[in-house]
């Protein structure tokens, strides 16, 4: 029963994506208020679920992979709601909705909601801060990956001169490249703050977590420094690094029995 808000939230993202996909198929796509409403409703329900879960366990709801994935979905939606209207790239929603739907569906169906009550020691707000900020950073990286996919799709259409249904609804590629970089910077700054908090409070973690955390921070630093490679390569790398980081997170979590 405690999962009801989460299930409803997942349905909101599904409905939003289905409506957008149907209009794309019909050939008269344009971002509609319905999609924004679904994103907003989904976000509120995610917040309700995370609030209830936090109250129930007495911690920031980041005690296992299930909660981490839901928190990540929440962060992705938050960034979309902040960035989409600002940069007038509401089409990000078309790509954000299926991603969030997929993450939440996996989280709901996979047997990963195992309790780890001892993960956060009592009265450890800085540890919770470190975990929360780090996950929010990955929300920004996820959205950067989506902006990267949109950039590559738009660039492909421009290069091949095959302009599909949504070409004229997509943002300019320069705007997508700028959005990609800004989201990468936002994510990197948050990740750095999260990592700095971990160092400051001397979090004791296993070698797997340390290697993963360090490798991801370093990868995103290199990605930002690689700006001179051009927006196309940055777009590809932002997708690859995000997929690798989430994949590695899941693998480490599996082998370290919830150490993450």
């Amino acid at each position: 029963m405690d999962r009801l808000p989460l299930i409803l939230s997942t349905l909101c993202f599904l409905f939003g994506f289905a409506a957008m996909a149907a209009s794309v198929k019909a050939g008269h796509f344009r971002p509609r208020r319905f999609n924004l409403a679904m994103m907003g409703a989904g976000f509120l329900l995610q917040t309700v679920f995370l609030g209830q879960r936090g109250k129930m366990i007495g911690h920031c709801p980041l005690t296992n992979l299930f909660e981490a994935l839901i928190f990540l979905s929440w962060a992705i939606t938050l960034f979309y709601l902040l960035i989409g209207p600002t940069y007038r790239i509401s089409l990000l929603g078309m790509f954000t909705e299926p991603l969030v739907f997929l993450i939440q569906t996996v989280a709901l169906l996979a047997p990963i909601d195992t309790p780890h009550p001892a993960l956060f020691p009592p009265h450890s707000p800085w540890l919770e801060f470190h975990a929360a900020v780090s996950v929010v950073a990955y929300g920004a990286f996820a959205l950067a990956g989506i902006a990267g996919i949109m950039y590559l799709a738009q660039e492909h259409q421009l290069k091949t001169r095959r302009l599909g249904t949504i070409f004229f609804q997509m943002p300019p590629i320069t705007a997508l490249a700028t959005t990609n970089m800004r989201l990468l910077w936002a994510g990197f700054l948050l990740l750095t703050i999260g990592q700095a908090a971990a160092v400051a409070i001397r979090v004791r973690v296993g070698p797997g977590v340390m290697i993963w955390g360090g490798a991801m921070w370093f990868s995103y630093l290199l990605l930002l420094l690689a700006r001179r490679l051009g927006p196309r390569r940055v777009a590809i790398l932002s997708v690859l690094v995000f997929v690798l980081s989430i994949g590695a997170l899941c693998i480490f979590n599996h082998f370290s029995k919830g150490e993450m």
């Binding site: 050939g27 008269h28 001169r161 004229f168 997509m170 943002p171 590629i173 700006r227 051009g230 927006p231």
Partner: protein
């Protein structure tokens, strides 16, 4: 009460015929006053654009009102209008359908163009200001504007560019966003490149360089467009400054090659270059398109996109007609469909 329409358009009359019946803006108020004073006409609106001249009227006696409309057209031009060509005449649901199609752009020369909606709005505003409209035509035109809005938002009839100029501008905006910071170079001051540059200029590009083998021609065009003329030999050293290149020289070989553009793009990886090759034979080496950040379109690809845009619009017509049909029924009911229309042939009109 019935709605009537008498008019001619680019489909039924050549420009020399249309201009005989046109009503200039300055003459609208007296023309509306005269039309409203004719027997049988309760309300009237005159729509006069370069592609159509149409007289709309609300009348309780449609036969008499149609005769008045014909009399009005004769008075204005000195020529007796003939039906069905060059004039068409509609009454009842056909009039309603006609205006709904006109404001939706389905009767326009370029299907789906939106300029006509503004023109009809202006014509209606002039008629309302002149006091020649009342309950029926007010409701009729307001409904027509709603129909146009719905057609525009719920179909793809206005989407996609349908001319080489609009394709160029749309592509530029899909690459750069706002064009206000873009620098343009015209290579070869021909008519086609000038037209394309003017389309970009209308979107506020920052600056224009013009280069031509005959420098005097470059100077003349640059002055006309508020740009800067540069020597043709200077072009290669100025590519790094520009965002959009329009090339249309008469050279029998490639003028813009991969060797020239490659280093330019390497030095500015996050600043795209849009190359528009309007020349035949082509000026820009096709492999330039393989360079990252360079987007090359030749005249054939631009025409193909315009053609695709037109095809999409044509396919959307049926969808638009379905939307319009619903509104016709609703409006007809509102107007009082219970009142029988005169049998066909009773008045000199076509109910197409």
């Amino acid at each position: 009460m019935q709605i009537l329409c008498l008019g001619l358009s680019h489909r039924t009359a050549a420009v020399d015929v249309r201009e005989q019946f046109a009503v200039p803006e300055a003459e609208l108020a007296p023309a509306l006053a005269r039309l409203g004073a004719l027997p049988g006409i309760a309300e009237a609106v005159i729509v006069s654009t370069c592609n159509r001249v149409e007289f709309y009227a609300a009348a309780t006696d449609p036969e008499r009102a149609m005769c008045s409309l014909l009399q009005f057209a004769t008075e204005r031009s000195g020529v007796t209008p003939t039906i069905p060509e060059p004039f068409f005449a509609h009454h009842g649901t056909a009039s309603i359908e006609h205006l709904f199609r006109v404001v939706s752009g389905l009767e326009s020369m370029v299907i789906g163009e939106t300029e006509i909606l503004g023109q009809v709005k202006k014509a209606y505003a002039a008629a309302a200001a002149a006091g020649s409209t009342s309950r029926n035509l007010n409701k009729f035109f307001q409904r027509a504007f709603n129909v146009a809005k719905e057609v525009r938002t719920r179909t793809s009839i206005t989407r996609g560019p349908v001319s080489v100029g609009s394709v160029t501008v749309d592509l530029a905006e899909k690459i750069f966003g706002k064009l206000s910071s873009c620098h343009v170079m015209i290579l070869g001051a021909g008519e086609t490149s000038e037209l394309t540059a003017r389309a970009l200029l209308s979107r506020g590009v920052k600056s224009i360089f013009v280069a031509n083998r005959t420098h005097e021609r470059a100077v003349a065009l640059a002055e006309e467009m508020g740009g800067e003329a540069i020597l043709f030999e200077e072009c290669d050293s100025r590519y790094h400054e520009i965002d959009i290149l329009i090339s249309s020289t008469a050279a029998p070989h490639y003028v813009v090659t991969r060797d020239k553009i490659g280093p330019v793009m390497k030095a500015r990886p996050d600043r795209p270059l849009f190359l528009i090759d309007l020349a035949v034979p082509r000026d820009v080496e096709p492999s330039v398109n393989e360079i990252e950040g360079a987007f090359l379109y030749d005249i054939d690809s631009l025409r193909m996109i315009a053609q695709q845009g037109m095809e999409v619009r044509k396919q959307e017509v049926l969808h638009c007609e379905q939307l319009i049909a619903r509104h016709i029924d609703e409006f007809h009911q509102w107007l009082g469909a219970a009142r029988p229309e005169p049998p066909s042939g009773q008045i000199p009109v076509s109910d197409s």
